[in-house]
């Protein structure tokens, strides 16, 4: 009897779950925007919330290449870092307004992606990962050595933006809430743009190339060019994330360019679910929350975060969001 009632309830709830997930898929950008607007109300610290936004955007940019196109890059820190440095240099050396600095940050990501992409897309699989890693380390040392421009190992300091002037409004960028919402606004615009790209004909082509390169080629798709363009698009999102990081921290640490940061993007995507729209953000949130909360209690926070990561891989093999999506389908 008990069993009978259980089986009659189960399909109902899973049906409801499926309905919600398909709704979430159709209205993905709106849902994400709504969440980001409400997020500071529940986040423990506003500064952490902003970091989750920025790293979420960075992981999102990485996910275009990794999750949707199926190429694992270990060099995305270079795109993120170049975006951050371009934005920082625009402000500290040229005194450009914040919006121009942000635009230059996006350009930085695009240029770095074009340079690395043009060379790396000739390779595949582990070779692609290695070539992107090597090239990003080249850029790392370039920025490291250009002390006059980048501050070298001390990082680029003095990226101060105190007020955001927009259509006659003066927003106090030092106020944590305003600060958060300014960053959130850009991330939300990026989310809508990404959602649109994924739904476009090009989005279909990207997934096709991931599914079968041979089939794509036989259907008349220039696979190499698709890879390159996707890399550059990914660079634009990562560049924006880097630029926002520079504004958020008021400094560009050299670690932004380090390969650790590349690994971070991989980890966040795997945690949240590669090739899913919400996955990278969920992954970034899990990672940064764990890091920040655990490090309050112990200096050995990496041990706990590492254990949590292993648990996630074991119990959510497709990432938290990816596994939820998969379970609901079966």
């Amino acid at each position: 009897m008990l069993l009978g009632s259980a089986t009659s309830v189960a399909p109902d709830t899973s049906e409801r779950m499926r309905g919600f997930l398909s709704f979430a898929q159709r209205r993905r950008a709106w849902l994400a925007a709504l969440f980001l607007i409400l997020f500071p109300l529940v986040a423990p610290f506003k500064a952490l919330a902003a970091m989750i936004l920025i790293y979420g955007l960075y992981a999102l940019g990485f996910n275009i290449l990794f999750g949707y196109l199926g190429l694992l890059s270990f060099g995305h820190s270079a795109l993120f870092g170049t975006g951050a440095y371009f934005c920082g240099i625009a402000i500290t050396h040229f005194g450009l307004p914040w919006w121009a600095a942000l635009a230059l940050g996006v350009l930085g990501g695009v240029l770095a992606a074009a340079a690395i992409g043009a060379l790396a897309i000739r390779t595949l699989g582990i070779y692609f990962a290695m070539v992107t890693l090597a090239l990003s380390q080249c850029l790392y040392y370039l920025f490291y050595e250009a002390t006059d421009w980048t501050g070298g190992e001390n990082g680029l300091t003095g990226v101060n933006v105190k007020t955001i002037n927009l259509f006659g409004f003066h927003l106090d960028f030092v106020n944590p809430i305003v600060h958060y919402y300014v960053i959130a606004a850009f991330v939300i615009v990026a989310l809508f743009a990404l959602s649109r790209i994924l739904a476009s004909p090009f989005g279909a082509v990207i997934e096709g190339v991931r599914e079968s390169e041979a089939r794509a080629r036989a259907s008349g798709i220039d696979v190499a060019r698709v890879r390159f363009v996707t890399f550059v698009v990914s660079g634009a999102f990562c560049g924006l994330a880097g630029a926002l990081l520079a504004l958020h921290l008021s400094i560009v640490p050299i670690e932004t360019m380090h390969y650790d940061t590349s690994g971070l993007a991989v980890m966040m995507c795997l945690l949240g679910g590669m090739g899913t729209f919400f996955g990278p953000f969920i992954g970034a949130a899990i990672f940064l929350l764990l890091e920040n909360l655990v490090s309050l209690y112990t200096v050995h926070w990496q041990l706990i975060v590492g254990a949590a990561f292993i648990a996630c891989v074991l119990f959510f093999p497709r990432g938290v969001w990816g596994t939820i999506l998969q379970r609901s389908r079966t």
């Binding site: 004909p201 090009f202 989005g203 080629r217």
Partner: protein, 250 residues
């Protein structure tokens, strides 16, 4: 010998390292007929096929499509000119639905790099994809991921994807490989129907299968052109008989 020539190879060879897979093959393919390339295992059929569709570049020799030298062009350019192949081993977009497989192939003729328009706004492509799926008898499988289709259905979808590119020249590599007799009959019927509107080149290991539907046959053996002719001539050809002797299913 009627009809004009759509594709021509001049003395094409293909070497893989020290292996001569194909040795100076010259042949002509007439428009709007079915030409079959046959031969025993290792005859160089698949190599020749892959040269014809641009997947491989010849080591030497020339390929002409509609009178234009197309030797060495990348494969996606072959596809844009209207030369489309289906694969011997089913090669689809496995996670994508049957509909999306066909729609995407149709889309590449219209746009590849458009990042801003919603996919759904290209209504014509959706309708075309549905029409083609109906045509190959997969209308009822529209929303199923390609990976979950039965083998025969996947082969049919493979043809549907090739058709979506609106080929002038459709190259089929052993389209009935691994099929049941029933599925094989259906596939052969489909090929004959498709041949009414376009040129088809068929690679087949089993000669018996294609004798009935081909207008012209090209027989390869050890990477060389052994014989060519109408089915009745090939059937009587002593050389061909000798090559196929001892083969179980000729």
């Amino acid at each position: 010998m009627s009809g004009d020539i759509i594709l021509r190879t001049h003395n094409v060879s293909k070497r893989f390292g020290r292996l001569n897979a194909l040795n100076g093959v010259s042949a002509e393919f007439r428009r709007n007929v079915i030409t079959s390339i046959i031969g025993p295992n290792g005859a160089g059929k698949s190599t020749y096929f892959n040269l014809l569709c641009g997947a491989l570049r010849p080591s030497s020799g020339r390929i002409e499509f509609e009178g234009r030298d197309v030797t060495g062009l990348p494969q996606h350019r072959f596809a844009h000119m209207g030369i489309v192949k289906s694969f011997q081993i089913t090669t689809l977009f496995p996670q994508l639905s049957a509909h999306e497989n066909v729609r995407l192939a149709a889309q590449t003729r219209v746009t590849v790099f458009d990042m801003w328009r919603p996919r759904a706004s290209l209504k014509m492509l959706n309708e075309q994809a549905d029409f083609i799926l109906e045509r190959v008898g997969l209308g009822h499988r529209r929303d199923r991921p390609a990976a979950l289709l039965a083998h025969g259905e996947q082969r049919a979808l493979e043809i549907a994807v090739a058709l979506a590119s609106e080929p002038k020249l459709l190259l089929l590599d052993e389209p009935t490989a691994g099929m049941s007799p029933q599925e094989t009959r259906e596939m052969m019927d489909l090929i004959v129907r498709l041949a009414a509107e376009r040129t088809i080149i068929l690679v087949e290991h089993k000669m018996k299968l294609v004798l009935g539907i081909s207008d012209w046959l090209i027989v390869l053996h050890h990477g060389e052109l052994l014989a060519e002719g109408a089915p009745d001539d090939i059937k009587r050809n002593e050389l061909v008989k000798r090559v196929y002797l001892g083969q179980r299913d000729h």
